[in-house]
């Protein structure tokens, strides 16, 4: 587990439940190519979140009658493991998981060049091993790296980050307690170079002014995580050029 570095510096405005500043991300780490069988894969650690994404495809699509003549079909499943939350989660997909699968699929679909693979399908599977707030945006961030790892052509990376309102303050990267007890949650995902928003949801209450502040914070956080996405992919490329294939799959 990545160590949570408790920062004891003087904070600007108020103390967040985990001691962060209002515009500070939790500790994060992205690693690509962590599963042997998948065509592409990645994991993200963001605070206590641990999320693993795998990509299979492009491959023949079943059943036949669903095939799209002019582009690939992108499937996407967001799924929480039973031990990922404090109370055991039933392995059966909840309505929440079904909704999130749909909005995540939309976000990734904006970037993947599906026209390159008519009649095929690309599967993205996201497994939340441990959840601590803002899983949907972290999932997108990992899935995008897994797609790149699988060599799927994309218009841009897709990277997600959340902002929110807690105890009257606008904050970056909403944690578990802030999510439960806070006033609002604003998860977004963007294509950073194309400057497009591809996931946008909001829960809770914010004025237009607060929304603007939160949106800008989330953009800033997303750009930081985008750098980490690039790092993860660079590390993989380096290990592929310097090491034998056997070593790539080595964990830790």
């Amino acid at each position: 587990m990545p160590k949570k570095e408790k920062k004891n510096e003087k904070v600007d405005e108020f103390i967040r439940p985990d001691g962060r500043k209002y515009d500070e991300l939790r500790p994060y780490k992205i690693r690509a190519h962590i599963l042997k069988n998948a065509d592409g894969s990645a994991e993200i650690r963001l605070g206590g979140n641990w999320i693993i994404a795998a990509v299979y495809g492009p491959k023949e699509h079943f059943p036949k009658f669903e095939i799209s003549q002019d582009r690939a079909i992108l499937n996407c499943r967001y799924h929480m493991n039973p031990y990922s939350t404090s109370e055991r989660k039933s392995p059966k997909p909840s309505r929440r998981e079904i909704e999130l699968s749909k909005v995540i699929r939309n976000a990734l679909t904006q970037s993947v060049i599906l026209d390159d693979f008519p009649e095929m399908s690309i599967d993205v599977f996201i497994e939340v091993a441990q959840a601590e707030g803002s899983t949907r945006v972290a999932s997108i961030t990992a899935a995008s790296v897994a797609l790149a790892d699988a060599g799927i052509p994309m218009r841009d990376m897709v990277v997600g980050c959340s902002a929110g309102k807690y105890n009257g303050h606008i904050i970056l990267d909403v944690g578990e307690i802030e999510d439960k007890e806070g006033e609002a949650d604003l998860p977004i995902a963007i294509m950073p170079n194309l400057r497009k928003v591809v996931l946008l949801q909001m829960d809770g209450k914010m004025t237009h002014e607060e929304f603007k502040k939160a949106f800008d914070l989330a953009l800033k956080g997303a750009m930081q995580l985008y750098e980490e996405q690039l790092n993860a992919l660079k590390n993989i490329l380096e290990s592929m050029s310097t090491l034998g294939e056997g070593e790539i799959n080595e964990k830790k």
Partner: protein
């Protein structure tokens, strides 16, 4: 976007979709509306007598019924001091050529959850007033909405219908039940005295389709099918944003704020329409 439905569209719909795009170049909508105009709205509360609250909404040819029922239930362990709100929407197979009977589709789950958040997050119903005995018994409020005919913009119609039903319906008195808690197994909920539902806000959702860099307010079915992006924004009566959902597509950063501003203005306008219709109907039917 409605990609799943596209392949089931009739030839008529495909031709109409083409028309939307052609007329977009001439700055026109296929039904002659202005880009920022809603279609005619008709709201009829208390249209069904069986549930505790109900309303029918016609938004152009989009036809939807909302029914609200209260039951006695157990609160969730992490919110012992709150009643329970459950929102379920079904696009009936009568609604369009592509609609199907069966367990809720991904799309039906999404719109139910957006309607639910619009209601829940605005605080329209103060769930703490639904408590009978804290941690033990609360009222469970079921909001069920059904789309009988889908001509687009289901969510706005459903939010309108839900708020209209809440404003005009009655619920079993939780205080009365608390005082008779020992006989709870023998009480028929229908015989408990009614009180108004504790409504605290009037949230209004507005849905916008992006077609060729222009926002279309209250998109109809065909406009939705060709939209590059589709977004719902819900505002409280104090002009706060209380729910946002980008269903499909992508928006430029600036477009997000353009959409928020359009939505704010329309929400004030629609709220007035809602209140005038509910006032008329509620005196007509309730007194």
């Amino acid at each position: 976007m409605r990609r799943n439905n596209l392949k089931k569209n009739t030839l008529h719909e495909l031709l109409m979709a083409n028309n939307v795009l052609k007329m977009a170049k001439e700055n026109k909508r296929i039904d002659g509306r202005d880009f920022l105009d809603y279609r005619p709205i008709k709201i009829e509360p208390n249209v069904i007598e069986k549930p505790d609250a109900s309303a029918r909404v016609m938004l152009g040819d989009t036809f939807i019924i909302v029914g609200i029922n209260f039951e006695i239930g157990t609160p969730f362990s992490d919110s012992p001091d709150k009643g329970i709100l459950i929102t379920e929407g079904e696009v009936l197979p009568t609604a369009s050529f592509g609609a199907e009977a069966g367990p809720p589709s991904e799309e039906e789950i999404e719109i139910s959850r957006v309607v639910d958040r619009s209601i829940r997050e605005s605080g329209v119903v103060d769930l703490s007033e639904l408590v009978i005995v804290p941690g033990e018994k609360v009222l469970k409020m079921f909001v069920d909405f059904n789309i009988f005919n889908d001509d687009g913009n289901i969510v706005d119609a459903a939010v309108l219908g839900t708020v209209a039903a809440l404003l005009t319906g009655k619920m079993p008195d939780p205080k009365y039940i608390a005082e008779h808690i020992d006989e709870i197994d023998k009480i028929s909920l229908k015989e408990v005295p009614r009180v108004p539902i504790p409504v605290k806000d009037i949230p209004i959702s507005t849905t916008l389709a992006l077609i060729g860099d222009k926002f279309y307010v209250d998109p109809n079915y065909v406009e939705e099918s060709v939209a590059e992006a589709l977004i719902t924004i819900t505002h409280t009566k104090n002009d706060e944003i209380c729910a946002v959902q980008l269903y499909e597509g992508a928006l430029g950063y600036e477009q997000v704020f353009e959409a928020l501003n359009i939505s704010l203005n329309k929400s004030r306008e629609i709220r007035d329409i809602l209140l005038s219709m509910v006032k008329n109907e509620s005196t007509e039917t309730n007194e």
